[in-house]
Amino acid sequence: MTSTAANQADSQARSRRIIRQLRTGLGPLLAALILICIGLSIASPEFLTTSTLTNIMVQVSVVGIAAVGGTFVIITSGIDLSVGSLVALSGMVAATVMAGSSPDNVALGIAGLGVALVVGALVGALNGLSVAWLRLVPFIVTLAMMAMARGLTLAISDGRTKFDFPNAFTAFGAKTLVGLPAPMIVMLVVFVIGHVLLRKTTFGHQVFAVGGNKEAARLAGIPVNRVIFLTYTLAGATAAVAGIVLAGRLNSALPSAANGLELQVIAGIVIGGTSLAGGRGSIVGTFIGVVLIGVINVGLSLLGVNPFWTQFIQGGVIFAAVLLDAVSQRRKL
């Protein structure tokens, strides 16, 4: 087989794979998103406006940013339940560091950002350490961490909300850049970095291998424990970024912030086609999944649906997504 012929065969295979992806992978999801958007713009003239669309992006930004790290964890067949608490904890620690600051204090603002990131990554690293080297069950470890991080948030804030941060800190939640809100821009940047990290780097390849077959990856010389450790650390770091955006947007750190966020994060990831069994998934899928949830939420409120039903419908969407994925996987076999 000459190399040009091989290349040709490969590009053919690649286009076949893209077609198959459209049929079984992200295709149906994207189609669903587009259909819902078309339906909503017919039903409600307010839907297809810049303000509604950017509003959706801002609303999903916190979940979306946290879901980027979560996608890595889930591809290794792990799970991280502590992200919601981590969003709150990193915001609260930053708020404590920045206490009593004037709006112009750039140094303190940067310190707040740094501290938030360090706290998030550190707690994530603890998760990773426990899962990778201590071989504890991810579900339980991160459940425990969820409680501990939330408890710590309540303890250091004494249950009270903290206000008034330097502008250098709130910029990431409150500013706009070329007319676009900062949370949306931060989210898009994090998604792009996440996508490149997952698709293009050694680390990303290792993440897929570990999730696809841990023992094969180990015997192929991949440092499985280190890879797992890094995914949880990354999830902690993206939760911290989400915490910075949330605190900045509200210009306050709430002890109860992001309560239950982990479920929305997992929902977004799973709707996006990442398999809880590991080895399969994409950052692009997670983005579509998270946006889909946001569109449905906003859409339902535009349509005047009783907000009590929103959660029910969200649950239905998750169920449908998982079912669809299972059916298409089974058909492949």
Partner: protein, 522 residues
């Protein structure tokens, strides 16, 4: 003379006479398997096997790996449905399926025990059929019944209400026998029952088997240990290539006969072996130990050499390779690569030190089945393919295409998912991955398991070219012909130790089997 008198006495009762005479003709045997044929796509696993087992007899089935022993047992247990042939128990044809076999009194004890560690001993004995009344389990009654069954296997000291997982492995195996008794089994089949046992436990198991024989049970056991066969069995059946090639009472077998009957005679030019020049010592291993299986192993391999490791299942061959590679923890010993002492704590370090290992289990430990050929080939070389952490797609593609071409992987492209490839092509992908790191030492664990003949010869040719290119090649194989056909010399392992080293010109099947099954030479 007596019979004459007997018939005289019984003239008034013709029925009696007939029965008397008939006793030499046929009370049907406990088990009769006749002309059993079983095919799988591409393989004929059983080609007309027949055997008879009498009540109160112990029958050994021996044969090399792949001879069809396991398939035969699975046919008897109802797990496989034979394509042709009949199975009769006490003259009654056996209905299909595992339930029918159990109801007919067939109990099979596999090497991997089928017990639930987190349940009590009694619950295990009566799994799925605990004595109950109107939906409530009668625990007391179950425990009483369990005590009887346990006593029969010499486990009087074991409480029926203790958690099974708290028992040591040797006792759990006896619990499995007790489970068969609790089901009123009449035919007990044991697959390599002593493989995981220590010496004293083996003696204990022998005693139990003898006691069961007294009670009229028919016992079949599969074993690689010939000393065991001679100690325990009343008769032995030898299988080879899916057929029985000999069945005699034990008194009529000698060890040598058995070994000869087991061995196929076609060591021909099928193997592309030829003499090679050797380079320096690439790998040296001194007193390597990794409990519980690997006790102590010392050997060395030169560049350009192909060294085969023989041994029966459980002898520690896989463990030896994995211990060298860093995939199993060491309790002692040292590894030297190119004369340098190295400390290898993980497979990642093993790869960095110029080692590669390909697993005997392609699906569980070899491939990421959901991923493409390209991704699988690249797995061990990701660092080499990357600049600043970014993997070059071009380099990755090139690496995969080269490996794919060199090993002749038959696939539409390197983008194809490996899960859909044939076993031979999967193995070639793994070899492509292994050689992509330019290793000094290549360790192949059962490299041709489950692969068709054509792909096998290709893989043999690749082994030769790897050795020619200067790698030290180590092969573990349970297929004796291939081991003898491909190896420059053969190391034999027995119960965790390397017991001998046999040069190619002295390595024949009889010698290797002798060492592998007894741990000593003839």
């Amino acid at each position: 003379m007596n019979s004459e008198r007997g018939s005289e006495v019984s003239t008034g009762n013709p029925h009696h006479a007939v029965t008397n005479a008939g006793s030499t003709v046929a009370a049907p045997p406990l088990l009769r398997m006749e002309g059993i044929v079983k095919s799988f796509p591409g393989v004929k696993a059983l080609r007309g096997v027949s055997l008879e087992l009498q009540a109160g007899h112990v029958m050994a089935i021996v044969g090399e790996n792949g001879a069809g022993k396991s398939s035969l047992i699975k046919t008897l247990s109802g797990a496989y449905e034979p394509d042709e042939g009949t199975i009769e128990i006490n003259g009654q044809p056996l209905a299909r399926g595992t339930h029918a076999a159990i109801d007919a009194g067939v109990a099979v004890i596999y090497q991997e025990l089928s017990l639930v560690n987190d349940m009590t001993v009694a619950e295990n004995l009566f799994l799925g059929r605990m004595p109950s009344r109107s939906g409530l389990v009668l625990r007391k009654r179950a425990n009483e019944m369990a005590r009887t069954a346990l006593a029969q296997v010499g486990l009087e000291g074991v409480s029926p209400s203790m958690r099974l997982g708290d028992l040591p492995l040797n006792k759990r195996q006896l619990v499995e026998v007790a489970k068969a008794l609790a089901r009123d089994a009449r035919i007990l089949v044991m697959d390599e029952p002593t493989a995981a046992l220590q010496r004293e436990d083996i003696a204990n198991l022998y005693a139990v088997v003898r006691r069961l024989r007294e009670t009229g049970m028919g016992i079949i056991f599969i074993s690689h240990h010939l000393e065991e066969v001679f100690e325990l069995a009343d008769s032995a059946v030898v299988m080879r290539d899916g057929a029985t090639v000999g069945a005699r009472a034990m008194a009529q077998w000698t060890e040598q006969d058995l070994v000869q009957a087991m061995v196929a005679r076609n060591l021909d030019s099928f193997y592309p072996w030829e003499p090679r020049d050797y380079g320096p010592v690439m790998l040296e291993v001194r007193n390597l130990a990794s409990p519980p299986v690997l006790r102590s192993a010392s050997f060395s391999v030169r560049a350009g050499e192909i060294v085969g490791i023989a041994g029966i299942a459980g002898a520690g061959r896989t463990e030896l390779l994995k211990a060298i590679f860093g995939a199993l923890p060491l309790s002692g010993g040292e590894v030297l690569i190119r004369g340098q002492k190295v400390s290898i704590g993980s497979p990642a370090q093993g790869v960095r030190n110029g080692l590669v290992y390909t697993s005997e289990d392609r699906k569980l430990e070899g491939l990421v089945l959901d991923a493409s050929i390209e991704e699988n080939v690249a797995l061990s070389s990701l660092l080499a393919l990357a600049t600043g952490g970014f993997v070059s797609n071009t380099k990755k593609r090139k690496l995969a295409q080269e490996a794919s071409t060199r090993f002749g992987v038959r696939a539409s492209s390197v983008m194809q998912i490996t899960g859909n490839l044939s076993g031979g092509n999967q193995q070639k992908v793994i070899l492509g991955r292994a050689t992509a790191t330019q290793p000094a030492v290549i360790m192949l664990d059962e490299p041709t398991r489950g692969i068709d003949v054509g792909a096998k010869t290709e893989i043999y040719a690749h082994m030769v070219s790897m050795a020619r290119a200067g790698a030290a090649v180590i092969m573990v194989s349970s297929e004796l012909p291939e081991l003898l056909g491909m190896s420059d010399r053969v190391l034999v392992m027995y119960r965790g130790n390397i017991v001998t080293e046999i040069p190619r010109d002295k390595a024949d099947s009889e010698t290797v089997i002798q060492w592998a099954t007894t741990g000593v030479g003839a």
